[in-house]
């Protein structure tokens, strides 16, 4: 032991040129790895397609209002009405296209709201522990145990049934999930030696929380955010189905609600099928995107 000479380990400097990496930005790295992820790309394309539909809805179809083609009520899918018509003769295809706008808006808004509330609460209560943690988690638990649906109904009734209100209400009831995931991750990360090492090299607390804790807690948060986007689309559909949606705008839930309230859903299967497919596509796309982002962000899960 005493007189060993310094033998270099197999240093990366001696790696063959072919696997040496050029200098890249983190974003470019992320894109490179995301592109290789099949599910993630499928999810991204799904969402992009829905976004395009939402943006170009006026160009694709007429906004369905009032009474439609009353001579063609409750038509099954045909060449003129691809998804059939409802009980007042409105095209289901048009309704689904216009409903995309509302559903995407609700999904994104409520996910952003739940991130804005849930991440700070989870981070702070996980990182500082003690009293901060008790208070943060008490609030979270209260929100988790609240009977969400009746409260949503009451709030929707009180605040009025605008689409923004719906999105805010759903966001206000979705953040506990984010807070819990963030806290659980933070608790595990807090004990890692790189947090201590960061303190030793003089990194400030705020920077430790963002650069070291949040960066490592980020993937599960992001995945949960995509799940919330999916579930809030479902919640919106549920609220609309209960008649608490915005009567002035079309959402997929409203279509289902109309089908239900007119009592034709048993005979006219197309009324339920097409909006449901749209919901499934949107929710799955968000979930796939979440999986893809997670794997691209986590160096150890990256596909080679």
């Amino acid at each position: 032991m005493e007189n060993t000479t310094l033998v270099k380990e197999n240093v990366p400097g001696s790696l063959p040129l072919s696997i040496q990496q050029p200098r890249t930005s983190p974003l470019r790295e992320f894109i490179k790895h995301f592109r290789r992820n099949r599910l993630g790309v499928i999810g991204l394309f799904g969402i992009l397609a829905l976004l395009l539909l939402a943006v170009f809805a006026p160009a694709i179809s007429d906004r369905p209002t009032g009474y439609g083609d009353v001579t063609n009520m409750l038509q099954p899918p045909n060449a003129q009405y691809w998804f059939g018509t409802d009980s007042v003769g409105l095209s289901i295809f048009d309704q689904v296209i216009w409903g995309t706008r509302v559903s995407l808006y609700v999904g994104l808004t409520s996910a952003v709201i739940s991130i804005l509330i849930g991440v700070p609460i989870g981070l702070l209560s996980g990182y500082y522990g003690g009293r901060v943690s008790h208070i943060g988690m008490a609030i979270t638990d209260i929100f988790l145990t609240l009977p969400v649906l009746p409260l949503m109904i009451i709030m929707a009734a009180v605040l009025g049934t605008g689409i923004s209100n719906i999105a805010i209400i759903i966001g206000l009831f979705s953040w506990p999930q984010i807070a819990r995931v963030t806290r659980a991750e933070t608790l595990a990360i807090r004990e890692k030696q790189y947090i201590e090492a960061a303190r030793a090299i003089g990194t400030k607390e705020s920077k430790i929380i963002f650069r070291h804790v949040l960066l490592n807690a980020f993937p599960p948060i992001l995945v949960n955010m995509t799940i919330i986007m999916g579930t809030s689309v479902l919640s919106e559909a549920g609220l609309s189905f209960l008649g608490l949606g915005d009567p002035m705008s079309w959402s997929w839930g409203t279509i289902l609600q109309n089908a239900h309230s007119t009592g034709v859903i048993i005979h006219a299967w197309w009324l339920a099928l097409f909006p449901s497919i749209a919901i499934v596509v949107l929710v799955l796309s968000f979930n796939f995107l979440g999986i893809g982002i997670n794997e691209a962000l986590n160096p150890r899960l990256r596909k080679r």
Binding site: E9, V11, P12, G202
Partner: protein, 337 residues
């Protein structure tokens, strides 16, 4: 403790300046129980520890696991706050400095961590990891950082390509080199190495140890080297502090500790070191019993229930650290007048 100590390290360099001194350092962790979270007892992880480190030397801290070695290292640079005591660095007590002042001091007091797998943030590239200390203090303009990082990667024996790679792409030994490079980024005076090689394969251990030794000469570093492995300590340290249950048992130069250990605990530890000489007669001192709980340490000398030379006084009076003529110190009643 004299302020000026004359001693020689193995290169024959004369050193005299005390760089860091701990006085009566204590760390008690409260144990809380029950609904009201009352403190029912305390774990005395570090209990009245006093020692000093000379500029340029390597002080080894050895002891069984759980004896408070790592806690001591963290107390010295305030990664943990001490319950009581003083840490005097360059003549001033750093335990009571303000937050900003302490942040400035961190440039000079660095640490190499035990676990090379959890001490590097897995989501940052090596370049980003090594850049962080520079970004924290802004000592040099940003366009010089890359150069500095490449220089230190070279110094610790990693190639330039490492800068774009993630920690998981490296072996344990290479990761430890990255951790060492990070500790060196700010040009420290004192590095506390907390079992830097215990998580590594034996074949890699000596390489990392030799690297640390090279760095010590190159940058005139002072080391506090925490380890449970006496052969590693023998390879690396000038003076050795033996700890037992949060207390100092013996402080000696490496030579005198290995040739003539004073405290019965040191004797037992050293008799357990395997010898390469098959002819040497083995007279191992086997300690009986377990290490007592630091929440309820034995009265008097903490070692007395396991000590082969236990006397009556050992059960009642805690032995003070006594300095012998050769600059050694031992806390044992066998050596009191």
């Amino acid at each position: 403790m004299p302020l000026l100590v004359i001693s020689e390290n193995e290169w024959g360099v004369c050193m005299s300046e005390i760089l860091l001194e701990a006085k009566g350092l204590k760390k008690y962790f409260p144990m809380k129980k029950g609904f009201l979270r009352r403190t029912v007892s305390q774990v005395k992880a570090v209990d009245d520890l006093s020692f000093h480190v000379l500029k340029g030397e390597t002080l080894g801290i050895v002891g069984e696991s759980g004896c408070g070695k790592s806690t001591t290292g963290r107390l010295l640079i305030r990664l943990l706050e001490a319950t009581e005591g003083e840490v005097i660095y360059k003549g001033r007590n750093i335990l009571h400095t303000q937050k900003e002042e302490m942040r400035e001091l961190r440039k000079e007091l660095q640490m190499v961590f035990q676990d090379p797998y959890s001490s590097l943030n897995p989501r940052l590239t090596v370049g980003q990891i090594l850049e962080e200390p520079l970004a924290n203090y802004q000592l040099s303009p940003k366009n010089e950082w890359r150069e500095k990082i490449l220089e230190l990667l070279q110094v610790v024996g990693l190639g330039e390509q490492a800068i774009h790679r993630y920690p998981h792409e490296f072996s344990g030994g290479q990761r430890q080199r990255i951790g060492i490079a990070r500790a060196l980024m700010l040009g420290p005076e004192l590095i506390i190495a907390d079992e830097p090689v215990s998580a590594l394969d034996v074949s890699i251990q000596s390489q990392v140890l030799n690297l640390l030794k090279d760095l010590q000469q190159r940058y005139a570093l002072t080391f506090i080297f925490i380890s449970h492995d006496l052969s590693v300590v023998n390879h690396f340290c000038d003076r050795i502090l033996v700890m037992y249950l949060g207390r100092v048992v013996e402080i000696s130069s490496k030579k005198s500790l290995f040739e003539r250990p004073l405290h019965p605990y040191s004797q037992a530890l050293l008799s357990a070191v395997p010898s390469p000489d098959p002819k040497r007669k083995k007279d191992r001192i086997i300690l009986t019993g377990d290490v007592p709980s630091p929440s309820n340490p034995p009265s008097g000398c903490a070692f007395h229930p396991r000590c082969p030379a236990c006397m009556d006084i050992c059960k009642q009076v805690r032995p003070a650290l006594r300095h012998t003529a050769d600059g050694e110190a031992v806390a044992c009643h066998l050596y009191s007048e």
